[in-house]
Amino acid sequence: MLTAENLPRPPYRDYHEWYAAQDTAHLIRKTQDAENIFRRTGITFAVYGHADSSEKLIPFDIIPRIISAREWRKLAQGIEQRVLALNAFLDDIYHKQEIIKAGRIPRELIERNVAFLPEMIGFKPPGGVYTHIVGTDIVRTGEDQFYVLEDNARTPSGVSYMLENRETMMQMFPELFTLNKVQRVEDYPRILRQSLAAVAPPGCKGKPRVAVLTPGIYNSAYYEHSFLADQMGVELVEGSDLRVLDGKVQMRTTRGYEAIDVLYRRVDDDFLDPLTFRADSALGVPGIMDVYRAGNITIANAPGTGISDDKAIYSYMPEIVEFYTGRKALLENVPTWRCSEPDSLKYVLDNIADLVIKEVHGSGGYGMLVGPTATKKERSEFADKLKAKPGNYIAQPTLALSTVPIFVNKGVAPRHVDLRPYVLVSDKVKIIPGGLTRVALKQGSLVVNSSQGGGTKDTWVLED
């Protein structure tokens, strides 16, 4: 919030002034109010492997993160470029594979990747869109210095928090929204529905019927699934509600079976179709891939997009962006060592205490090592895993991440954050001005994942 001279950074000026006039005890009460709102509304998530705490609240911080219109424009351009490149990349690897032929990416990295689906080869999804909904994780290291930490093109979650955080802030501090002109995020569900309808299969007549596919109430993101279905005004379905009839995916209603045109699925590829992928999946729809390939349903995001979330692929993103857009990437990648390469592996092992090491297929902050904060024992155990399966890991330097203020009982304290803006792709690209800011609540910590004790806060993009 403050510059080196201890003055509020320009976007924070009005907020800072407001904050200075507040009474701490009042703000502590507001923090409790916020928690009550979240609890009553049932905005919870499940942490797997904790039987007794099946529903948890994500801690919410009442100080917004504020981004100026100018900073946002720069970010948005970079994100748009990256998302377009990702779609072109996916189209290419499932068709002509020119990037492989050009020698920019090793063939085995694509074709031996577990997230690469041979079933998608030669198939063009309706509208040519692979990643309809993307969340790009971004960190900042200084004034105007942004890095992309990872791309979430498979099933990015957290957008309900972006919306509920805003809703909660507007309920608790309405006066702040007259002091600051904050760009709207509330249109997200409406735009999402439009985007999904815009990529309905060509054979779909009339208004497309859209549904959200959830694994069910025990899934960690169930709240978000029901929230999005509710806000979009579409059905929330489970695999058991669906079956393939007359070449269409249909849902069992009290009046009989009704066809679905666009399925926003929040079920992973593996579980989508027991006839094609994991045979033991009870979450999917037997035969849905046949319907999909026959062009009778749109699946968003398309199966096989998960490959672009792979952290080894991530390390090639600067090449990927340049290859498909013909321009240098506007947003920088964090320098990444691919442990599959012997020189890199040696460097990583020698410098393990200074690096963050991640599994290439991992997500949610699981299975990673944060070198600087790990114990000696943890490091040496991780080094063994690395040596056993080097191709499974990448390493990155710990960046000097910028901090933002959070509210603690004594006032404000700095914490590390990242930012996940949400992008919707159909016949056009829409980036919602805002996103989910995740906070590492522990002092000094760099891990922001909610499954690892991270919190969230509202994210404001100011108008000019």
Binding site: R39, R40, T41, G42, G216, I217, Y222, S226, A229, D230, E235, L236, V237, E238, S240, D241, M251, R252, T253, T254, R255, G256
Partner: protein
């Protein structure tokens, strides 16, 4: 609407209704133990029987004590009909059908679960029971109120209402059946002190000990009590009232679905006609127990026909 959603609504409201009825039964049981000299822990047999969990109780408890019975009825998660289990099952169903509920209805349900889970997480003290039972009834009342005040009168509403009244009819019939012998004419020609007290406990478990006086204007009489709980259409927990509501909600569904009539419509109509035309003397002559047993069976059958007809499962 998805068949699974109709199923979720139906069971959400069955469980909320059951939770409230179990709280009422415990309330009546407590009342007995407070007002009757020489009452014993054995009295709780009847309460467990009315709740339909006596056999299950005996599997986990060797003895019958008031404390164990109350614990089993209110907070034991191993008992699928305990208030805790019902509130949790009701809330899980609500979570599943959340997109069909108004925010008010969902929040009232979620808050009931949060509050009761906290209150029922500890061993119960006898001194806290009256307040706790009040809170359970209050929470269920809030859910009902939010639902009435905010939901569209459409198929969502109809499935929820049908669930409520199928459950309520079942519960009232069971309460009566457990005590049927104290209402038999041969035993109860003259209301003894013992009868009076038994009868009051029946009325109390359906919250009708005050309204009885308004309807029948006088002393407790066995035939009037049976009449009130079975045939009195003004009494919101009577079998007749429940069937008025079931039939009208099924009719709205049929109209909404282009006049489609299912087996369930015929079954519900037949039960309603039977209750409308019946008299308490006839029922008593035929055998109250046989009548109630038959009713519970037909009520369950209707439930199964509704599930099939509206594709709740497959």
């Amino acid at each position: 609407m998805l068949g699974r959603t109709a199923n979720g609504l139906y069971w959400m409201f069955r469980y909320i209704e059951r939770a409230e009825n179990i709280a009422r039964l415990v309330d009546a049981g407590l009342r007995v133990s407070l007002t009757r000299a020489g009452s014993s822990d054995e009295d709780w047999h009847g309460v467990l029987e009315s709740a339909g969990v006596r056999a299950a109780y005996s599997e986990v408890h060797d003895k019958m004590t008031a404390a164990d019975a109350i614990d089993y009825l209110l907070r034991d998660r191993a008992n699928l009909s305990s208030v805790m289990s019902c509130i949790e099952a009701g809330r899980n169903n609500a979570r599943m059908v959340r997109t069909a509920l108004t925010r008010e209805t969902w929040e009232a349900t979620n808050e009931a679960w949060i509050d009761l889970k906290a209150r029922l997480s500890r061993k119960l003290k006898a001194a806290d029971l009256p307040e706790l039972i009040g809170v359970i009834k209050h929470r269920c009342g809030l859910i009902r109120g939010a639902f009435h005040g905010s939901m569209l009168r459409n198929e969502i509403y109809n499935f929820a209402r049908i669930g409520t009244f199928i459950e309520r009819a079942d519960n009232t019939a069971r309460i009566l059946d457990v005590k049927y012998y104290v209402l038999l004419p041969s035993v109860s020609q003259v209301g003894s002190a013992l009868d009076n007290f038994q009868w009051e406990s029946i009325l109390r478990s359906v919250s009708a000990h005050r309204s009885y006086g308004w309807v029948y204007d006088g002393e407790y009489q066995a035939a009037n009590i049976a009449d009130m709980l079975i045939l009195q259409v003004q009494m919101p927990r009577s079998l007749a009232y429940c069937y008025e509501k079931i039939v009208s909600n099924l009719r709205y569904l049929s109209e909404d679905y282009g006049g489609e009539r299912l087996t369930a419509h015929d079954t519900a109509d037949a039960i309603r006609t039977m209750l409308k035309r019946g008299s308490v003397t006839e029922i008593m002559d035929q055998g109250l127990h046989e009548f109630l047993e038959d009713f519970v069976y037909r009520n369950n059958q209707l439930s199964a026909e509704i599930s099939d007809g509206y594709r709740f499962y497959q």
